[in-house]
Amino acid sequence: MIDMILETLQTGTGFWNPLTWIVAFVIIFLIVFIFRGMGNKSYKKGTGQTQAFLSGNKEYEKHQMHVQSSNLYWGWTESLKWVIDMLKKMHTGNVSDYVLWFIVVMGLLLLSVGLI
């Protein structure tokens, strides 16, 4: 039973054994942790080191500095704007259009099995 539980998953050309992975992960984590411990311990809480703006600009209250969801990945969404705009246009929210897409796919399927 234990053998079966611990058995490696054969994925065809490869394999996957999470328990081996976890052991490797723990060893790597420990190595990183040891290296981290050797680092420079110059961090001082509550000093200029921890300020958001080194330029001396006035700092907002902490809760005002939360980066909101819409601000994340703006570069990515900006560069793919044409794709996103196209997809947004496709998602009209109109149920008639939903049915239309169904008809389109059904038409393509009819074509593909040689009925049209």
């Binding site: 996957w16 992975w21 939903y98 399927l109 593909s112």
Partner: protein
């Protein structure tokens, strides 16, 4: 035979009958006690779960089971009798396990989540009806019966999507869901009529046998197209997925979880039709149905992730991610089908073993998706319960107040993104490797989609749980224990499936994949004279 043995012998019927009876008793019990009603619903689904697990152990140990409602003889005076057969093989029971886990967790979660709502007698009745329909779709071996259960699921689901009638968008989503479901079901019914008209049979195995003999007529092709299109739409495959974010996004979180199961039941129907009913003739069309599924899968993944990344509503974002996840299943099963349904006799499962791995990966992903996406929906529900907020732009810093929920979200995030050592990684690895052998571009798109899923949920983690504490959420507290337990059950299964993937694959997924591919075993029951 003692009463326990008798009950176990009728397990297939009881799996449907218990939640159905429970649904109609719920309003009655509701009149006596609200708390009693909630506990009653949990007990009903708990008992159903016991029967499902018993049946699973039986089917997996002893092979497929046929359960007959009505005449045991196929014909009486040379006429085909009207009766219903449940044909339960490893695939059906695998799906039923998913369905009952989701239903049980949903009802447990609802205990506290829906506590402050009115009309809960209707809520629990519909929830139990939806479960009945979903399980029926998974267990039946009769086409018309499948349609009936599809309708039961759809009607109950639509009502539950629109349960929060004070919110106009929920009502709108419910309306859209019922329109889409009705259109889909209409075409399913039309396809069944075409098959029935030709073969005088509604039993899937009987139709499959006749299809093999008739050699794929014009009407068979039309029926196949109608069934694929309708079930793919109900299964949320792009570009027919647009109802899904509306419905998943607006339903109560517990219902979103159950909707994942209902969507997968439709996908199961699609796979059953293509592999089992049309198994003998599926290689005949000029264009491979397998490649069509692959194409739909790729489109679904890409549209799902791109649309998810720009969402600002928590549950709508998860819903688009769920769309992307459905794409993986279609891609994997389609990859398997390209080989199974290949007209070239030199290309078989033996010469192209990756096809079987693709199907195993696809089916493993069905259960993983249900768990991972389901957990994320429950987390979104917990956040809404605690904050009454759904916009990602207005949330933040909740990890301080909701530690357990945050941990559950991180588990869901890592699992759905396919990161090791979670369950999503194992199934996705199988999919990447197998699709690579069909065409490397397919696996590249699949990996890219996974990376984007990770990006999407890291964004949610930051937007909702990390960052400074927001003054408006100072009084926010962790959600009630029943909700935490519901999330913990799913998180626990995710971790177990992640740590011991081979245990699941060899005992549950491989038998299901064999049942899907080998339609002869399904048809052999006919020779038993049932």
């Amino acid at each position: 035979m003692n009463i326990i043995d008798m009950l176990l012998a009728h397990a297939p019927a009881l799996i449907i009958a218990i939640p159905l009876l429970g649904a109609f008793l719920t309003p009655l019990i509701s009149r006596v006690s609200d708390k009693g009603r909630n506990i009653f619903a949990i007990i009903i689904l708990g008992i159903t779960a016991l029967f499902v697990f018993y049946l699973a152990s039986d089917v997996l140990a002893n092979g497929p089971i046929t359960y007959v409602f009505g005449s045991t003889a196929e014909t009486v005076q040379s006429s085909t009798v009207i009766r219903i057969l449940f044909e339960i093989d490893a695939l059906s029971i695998f799906m039923a396990i998913i369905g009952i886990i989701l239903a049980f967790v949903a009802v447990l979660y609802s205990y506290a989540f829906m506590e402050k709502n009115t009309g809960l007698d209707k809520y629990y009745t519909l929830l139990l009806l939806m479960t009945t329909g979903m399980l029926g779709m998974m267990l039946t071996g009769d086409m018309f019966n499948f349609f009936v259960f599809l309708e039961i699921t759809s009607i109950a689901s639509a009502a539950l999507v629109a349960f929060w009638t004070n919110k106009s968008k929920a009502v709108e989503a419910g309306f859209k869901y019922i329109v889409i479901s009705t259109v889909g079901a209409l075409f399913v019914l039309f396809a069944i009529a075409l098959l029935y008209g030709q073969y005088d049979a509604l039993n899937m195995a009987k139709i499959a046998q006749n299809l093999g003999l008739s050699g794929f007529t014009f009407l068979d092709k039309i029926a196949l197209v109608l069934l694929i299109a309708a079930l793919a739409m109900k299964g949320g495959l792009a570009p027919m997925h647009m109802w899904l974010p509306d419905a998943y996004g607006r339903a109560p979180a517990s219902i979103s979880l159950l909707l994942v199961g209902a969507t997968q039941a439709s996908l199961y129907g699609l796979f059953r039709i293509v592999f089992t009913v049309y198994g003998d003739v599926i290689s005949l069309p000029t264009v491979s149905i397998g490649w069509i599924l692959v194409l739909l899968g790729i489109i679904t993944m890409l549209i799902g992730v791109v649309m998810a990344i720009i969402q600002t509503e928590f549950k709508r974002l998860i819903a688009y991610s769920a769309v992307a996840e459905l794409g993986y299943m279609a891609l994997a099963i389609g990859t398997g089908l390209t080989i199974v349904a290949n007209a070239d006799p030199t290309i078989t499962l033996q010469t192209a073993p990756f096809a079987m791995k693709a199907i195993i990966g696809g089916l493993f992903h069905v259960i993983n998706d249900a768990l991972d996406v389901g957990l994320l929906f429950l987390v979104a529900g917990a956040v809404y319960y605690a904050t009454k907020e759904t916009s990602l732009n207005r949330l933040g810093g909740l990890a301080r107040n909701m530690k357990y929920t945050t941990v559950f979200f991180i588990i869901g995030l890592l699992a759905v993104s396919g990161l090791p050592p979670f369950n999503g990684f194992a199934s996705k690895l199988l999919i990447y490797e197998s699709t690579y052998q069909l065409n490397p571009i397919l696996s590249i798109v699949a990996i890219l989609s996974s990376i984007l899923l990770l990006a999407i949920f890291v964004k949610v983690l930051h937007a909702v749980f990390l960052g400074p504490a927001l003054p408006k959420f100072e009084s926010v507290r962790e959600v009630p224990k029943s909700m935490l337990v519901a999330m913990a059950i799913i998180a626990g299964i995710i971790i177990i499936f992640g740590l011991f993937p081979n245990l699941v694959v060899s005992n549950l997924i491989e038998p299901a994949a064999n049942a899907l591919v080998n339609n002869n075993s399904y048809l052999q029951w006919l020779t038993g004279g049932i």
